[in-house]
């Protein structure tokens, strides 16, 4: 479980996060939604420690991540997997080497055991046999899958996904969403997804947190989101004419 308590983040005079409190539970896909500039990415980066919070606490279980030393954070970070918007695969490494990297760096497994784990992860994301390909040789959707495989190779307790569907076609997007949901359920992972894709919200939003200008404006499930009377949330969800007509029908 991850709990954030009244976190605030400022860049100079500009306060981007204005006191957000919420809890993310294991075995659930929790989505953070909001328009561009609402503070989604900053919130996720504060949670994983890429940004330091100006005030407030980020709790991983009972551990206060915000006040941890670098070495203490390393222990937590090895329980975190992260899928980046652009996949962030290492260009100079093959698919297999990318996925094996965390195993090489943090475990003492034998070469055979590592190979077995890498192949298991590749199979899990539907990329069996793609071991020798470089990131430049595979499609955007495949890169996301490799990113997922790399983020789960150490069997993390926490999975963060930053706009996992950006740049993907609708069909591939659904495949990625389903993959993340299945992996979350199978391994009881606390999964936090930062997105503005409404298809993803309706596909996998066990818990949805809506941010507006750095404030938590609304929180609920995918079933509740379409019936909310929150003005800002409705503006965000029904931005397109098609969805407005669908709602009115």
């Amino acid at each position: 479980m991850i709990r954030i308590e009244d976190i605030r983040k400022s860049f100079g005079e500009v306060e981007v996060l204005k006191g957000i409190t919420t809890t993310f539970n294991p075995g659930q896909t929790s989505l953070i939604i909001g328009s561009s500039g609402s503070g989604k990415t900053v919130m996720v980066k504060c949670m994983v420690g890429l940004f330091e919070v100006t005030s407030g606490r980020v709790m991983y279980g009972d551990d206060n991540f915000s006040t941890m030393s670098k070495n203490e954070r390393k222990v937590i970070r090895q329980q975190i997997g992260m899928l980046f918007q652009g996949s962030a695969l290492f260009d100079s490494m093959t698919t297999e080497e990318n996925i094996r990297f965390p195993l090489d760096m943090f475990t003492n497994l034998t070469a055979g055991e590592k190979m077995h784990r890498v192949n298991f992860c590749l199979e899990r994301v539907g990329l069996t046999g793609s071991n020798a390909k470089y990131p430049s040789e595979i499609s955007g959707g495949m890169m996301k899958r490799v990113g997922i495989a790399r983020s789960i190779v150490l069997e993390p307790k926490y999975l963060f996904c930053d706009e996992p569907n950006s740049g993907l076609d609708p069909k591939t997007s659904i495949t990625i969403d389903q993959l993340i949901t299945e992996i979350t359920r199978e391994n009881n992972i606390t999964t936090i997804i930062n997105t503005h894709d409404m298809n993803s919200v309706m596909e996998m939003g066990d818990q949805v947190t809506f941010l507006n200008k750095g404030i938590k404006e609304w929180e609920g499930s995918k079933e509740e989101i379409l019936h909310s009377d929150n003005e800002f949330l409705n503006e965000f969800i029904f931005a397109s004419k098609f969805l407005q007509e669908l709602r009115d029908a």
């Binding site: 890429l50 962030a88 260009d91 963060f160």
Partner: protein, 232 residues
């Protein structure tokens, strides 16, 4: 940053592998260009010395003597380092810059990898190891280039060789290696700094790469002067 570069590695095998990869990129990858430049610099310098000595009473074997010392003390380390600042420095800055902008460094950070130690350390160590090797090769080839050039100027090769062995001071080789190590440290750290802290996209990476080359070159020339002042 420098303190973290030499922090204790999290996994020696990974750091070793990365250092070897960098040694290959920096050393083998730069060998051809360093060799070509050294050969021609040696040849041109020899031809010009021969031209200047043509009407003087200075013995012709002095060409070998002057060329040897100027190559060892100044040309091999400084020109090679300036050339490597362009090739290796811009390569390092753009590699780290693109890793930063494509979030690869963030990915490593989140995994718990000490990114400065893992990404910068091997580059600095590889530079410190390979620059002296490249500079030594450049010195040898520069002198050889001079020999090849004097053959065509009517100076007997035996005179050139006599000049090479005339009043040789081993200290000059030490000076050359000291310069190589100092220049390696400058090029690698300045370039890593510029690349690692890039903010932005392609334009910023290009600017960081340019800054790496320009700043390294200026610092090499300042360091060259200071070393000469201190050691000679």
């Amino acid at each position: 940053m420098v303190g973290q570069v030499f922090a204790r590695p999290q996994k020696w095998a990974m750091y070793w592998r990365e250092t070897m990869r960098q040694m290959n990129d920096i050393g083998i990858g730069s060998l051809m260009i360093v060799s070509i430049i050294a050969l021609f610099i040696g040849a041109v310098t020899a031809v010009q010395f021969a031209y200047q000595l043509e009407t003087s009473f200075i013995p012709k074997f002095y060409i070998g003597f002057i060329l040897r010392d100027s190559i060892i003390i100044e040309m091999a380390p400084t020109l090679s380092a300036l050339m490597l600042a362009g090739k290796v420095g811009s390569n390092i800055a753009s590699e780290l810059g693109s890793m930063r902008s494509s979030e690869q460094i963030d990915a490593l950070d989140i995994m718990g990898v000490n990114t400065i130690s893992y990404l910068v350390g091997p580059k600095v160590i590889a530079s410190l190891c390979m620059f002296p090797v490249l500079v030594t090769i450049a010195a040898g080839l520069g002198i050889f280039g001079g020999y090849m050039a004097t053959v065509g100027t009517g100076i007997p090769p035996s005179d050139y060789i006599r000049g090479l062995s005339y009043w040789f001071m081993p200290f000059n080789v030490t000076l050359m290696l000291v310069k190589a190590v100092v220049f390696a440290f400058i090029v690698s750290t300045v370039s890593c700094y510029q690349g690692y802290y890039v903010k932005g996209g392609a334009l910023e990476i290009a600017r960081a790469s340019t800054r790496a080359v320009v700043n390294s070159s200026i610092m090499i020339l300042i360091a060259d002067f200071l070393i000469a002042k201190l050691m000679l």
